[in-house]
Amino acid sequence: MTVWRTFKWIRVATLLVVAISMGSVCAVGQGAKKSTVDQDGQQVAQRSTSAHEWQKEFDQVCSTTQEAMSFSENELAKFVQRCDALLPQIEKLDETRKKVYLGRLRMCRGLYAYVLESKRNEKK
């Protein structure tokens, strides 16, 4: 009888251990899942931030074309570099935006490069 009771307790204890371990595994899994979701959320947020960043950068760089003639050679060269840096980001956009902004970037970069070249020519 005592042996039977001891056996019963061992069974209950084993079941408890199994239940606790399974629970903790699930909890860890959920935590991991949550952290994955968080990471995904962060990635999406980062992506949208970077999407806004390229737009901001584009607007900043190409909003000053009207003043191109007043910039120094150094400033113009920097604008050309910034345009070049924008190119790979714009190439990742959907077909429509890629078409629109590649054309706009080409004109914007072209003008800065053109003014830069004409200023260098003036010095010769």
């Binding site: 584009f58 607007d59 190409c62 909003s63 000053t64 074309t65 009207q66 003043e67 191109a68 003639m69 007043s70 077909e95 429509t96 935006r97 078409k99 629109v100 902004y101 054309g103 706009r104 004109m107 914007c108 072209g110 003008l111 490069a113 053109y114 003014v115 070249e117 004409s118 020519n121």
Partner: protein
Amino acid sequence: MNAKRFAILALLLVFCGLSLAQTGTKKKRPLPYEFGRVVLNNYSEKSDLSPVVFEHWIHRSKFTCRVCHVDIGFAMKAGQTGIRAVDNERGYYCGACHNGKMMVDEKRVFAACSRRVNYEDQKRCDRCHSLGKKVPSDFDFFTFSQPLPKERFGNGIDWEKSEEMGLIKPAAYLDGFTSNKRSLAAQKDFYLNPKVEGMPDIIFSHKKHTVWNGCELCHPEIFMGVKKGSSHYTMVDISEGKSCGACHVNVAFPLTDCQRCHSKPVQP
């Protein structure tokens, strides 16, 4: 015998006439309301739609060239933009204004292309896809042009004077598209010598051009020479649509209006 001589003489006359006749077909001069008209057919007929008929005159009275050709991104040559219905639907190109929301002169601008089309929408499609159709327009050219100062060629309208008089107010800004908000520091006007005796010099007004176009519309894609005097322009090239001809053949006042450019009096 006489009949034979007559036949030979007739044949000779025909040959002489043919050899002296000018070859080629004369290009038809567009009527004032047709001047600046652009027909777009990149994808229309492939999609069982009529090609799009675009009228420059009404659009240029509302916006500067720069807004459409720089900020929105329409190419300077017909068909080179490659606009698709989906582009308009996403709010780009025609869809930048034709979105069913924008108000111009207290009128709602009709929406461009949409994916789902019912019978009512079909009429809306026809407003642009109108080649070969009689589609009623919101704007009648003759009513529109009647109060505006006249010119001899092109649309028969002096657009520059119209703006000076405040009869048209082309907007230089489109929300969500225009990055350049600052006004342009005007560059100096300059003279171009046509190198033809008795031909008046050309006065090129930077100010007039940049107000409507900005800088990057012309430089470097249309005028690529960086050193003044290094590029040579010929009337043949211009009439083929190069340099000044990019605008002054089809949309801005045409090349037949010589005195508008060759305007500096000849020195005695």
